[in-house]
Amino acid sequence: MKIPLIYNIRSVRQRPVSTLTTALGMALVVLVFVAMMALSRGFRAALTGTGSTENVLVVRTGADSELVSGISRETAQILAGMPFVADGPDGRPLVSPEVYVLVSLDRPGVGEALVVARGMNPDVFQVRQNVEIVAGRMINPGTSEIIIGKSIVGRFANTQIGDVLSFGNRDWTVVGHFAAAGSAFESEIWGENEQFMPAFRGEVFQSVTFRMRDPAAFESVRQALADDPRLQVDAHREYDFYANQSYLLTQILNFAAVFIAGIMAIGAVFGAVNTMYAAVGARAPEIAVLLTLGFRPFSVLSSFLFEAVVIAFIGGILGCLFALPLNGIVTSTTNWVSMSEVAFAFRVTPDLLLRGVFFALLMGLIGGFFPARRAARQPVVQAARQV
């Protein structure tokens, strides 16, 4: 690359309007790409942040969702007594037998949506250490009190502290809001399992989650539970169980990001092609001078390719700037496995921005190639011929 880069940078600056229009076309593509990837990242993060790698989630054999699972009190009892279950400071096993149901709540202006109602016991806060009360207080056992995940506070009616929510033919009083590190738990309503049982499905839990004494020993724990003749259960690492629920939707979103941005990119690339052909055409005498002075056609090609990349870089940066404000914006979708509404935030991460810029640079390289090649192939004699 012997032709000074400043030549291209100044030439780009020389025609701000066409540079900016072309860059904006690319910026739009980058915006769409980054936005959709941020959506997919956010959804995935919500679900991967839900489970812990130190916990085991037990459901009935073959159940891929807590919804279709059932665990008897007896089974829950046996699980709690297993030697590989960790003990809390008070010596009791860290086990959370849970009821899991979907309730239909009113989303003002949108309609009804399904929300997870999870019945637990107060030990859950020791099993799941990413959960904490952020407003109000924890429920008292033996009462019709509930706490609400902070993502759905305000998105659904009657979710403020002191409000009364009706579901399962009973009224429930909201006494607190909880956070769970941005995970899907924040889109749930939690109450006491002993209260939820009679209100919904009767004497049955949907899952049992326990803390392992040795998180590295998951495989042997799984095997032991599978081999136990008294049990018909599947054991999952809690992290994997929830993360897998994000798999399909994440894949689809990623595919859509690439597909839609890809189609838009074709348009943006044509924009770059036009701009660069115009630049090459207008600067034919300059190109001829460079060739006459002894610069090689390859240098001319690289030079104009670089110019296209400069424009693309501007587009990439603009696109990232457009996408940045999306970061943290909360939206929601239906978790297709649990069929419930999950709220999550767009996650515009640095690596995503970097990919957006690379995407733009790629558009620049592709769009710049043929014009740059035309520049390089221009016959040298035109220099003296004064086109």
Partner: protein, 223 residues
């Protein structure tokens, strides 16, 4: 031996299966340090001849040798390198890159050499001094007059100390006073710095600055 030797050179352009002969069987010798002027009516092939000497175009038949090297036998790649070493070109339209300063325009040919930045700086400043534009180094072409622009172009042509300077109507686009300055400058390059110059011009007054005048007409070169 002459610096430049042209032997039985012919050029025939091909345009849509129609042959356009420009000249045939031209022979020419130019010695080191000569200042030769080439005149001739429009379309007689003066520019074509310059382009052939500079290796920008290929002859139909014949050979051109400069300083013992046969230009007509070189590949395109070799030609590019040879040109940057041996030829300084001055055009009618000054052909500076508008986005580069006078300094940067003059520096361009040196970017093809192995000179360090500091050495390049020395060469560029010397060239600008010779053409009398040291104080305009940081000006852009549009901030210069036509005559000054052409002087920058001359600076660019001499900065790499080429064997041969080829000028194609360098004063064609200038007013009389500026043209005079350019011609005086070229004369100085020839006398003071012993540059070998081939100047193409239509202007009789310009032609008188050279040491000898050649005419190219109807494909025949007379000296």
């Amino acid at each position: 031996m002459a610096l430049l030797e042209i032997r039985s050179l012919s050029k025939v352009y091909q345009r849509d299966s129609q042959a356009i002969p420009v000249f045939e069987d031209i022979d020419l010798d130019i010695d080191t340090g000569e200042f030769l002027v080439l005149m001739g009516p429009s379309g007689s092939g003066k520019t074509t001849l310059l382009n052939l000497i500079a290796g920008l175009d290929e002859p139909t038949t014949g050979t051109i040798t400069v300083g013992g090297e046969e230009v007509t036998a070189m590949s395109r790649r070799q030609l590019a390198a040879w040109r940057s070493d041996h030829v300084g070109f001055i055009f009618q339209l000054y052909n500076l890159l508008p986005v580069l300063t006078a300094y940067q325009n003059v520096e361009l040919p040196l970017l093809l050499t192995h000179l360090s930045k500091k050495e390049r700086r020395e060469h560029v400043m010397t060239a600008l001094e010779v053409v009398g534009l040291s104080d305009r180094a940081d000006h852009f072409p549009r901030q210069l007059s036509g005559g000054q622009e052409q002087r920058v172009a001359i600076g660019r042509a001499i900065v790499s100390d080429p064997t041969l300077i080829l000028a194609d109507e360098p004063t064609g686009d200038l007013d009389a006073k500026s043209a005079d300055e350019i011609l005086t400058l070229m004369q100085r390059l020839n006398r003071e710095f012993s540059k070998t110059i081939l100047l193409v011009t239509h202007d009789q007054r310009a032609a008188e600055r050279g040491e000898a005048i050649m005419h190219l007409d109807k494909g025949v070169l007379t000296r």
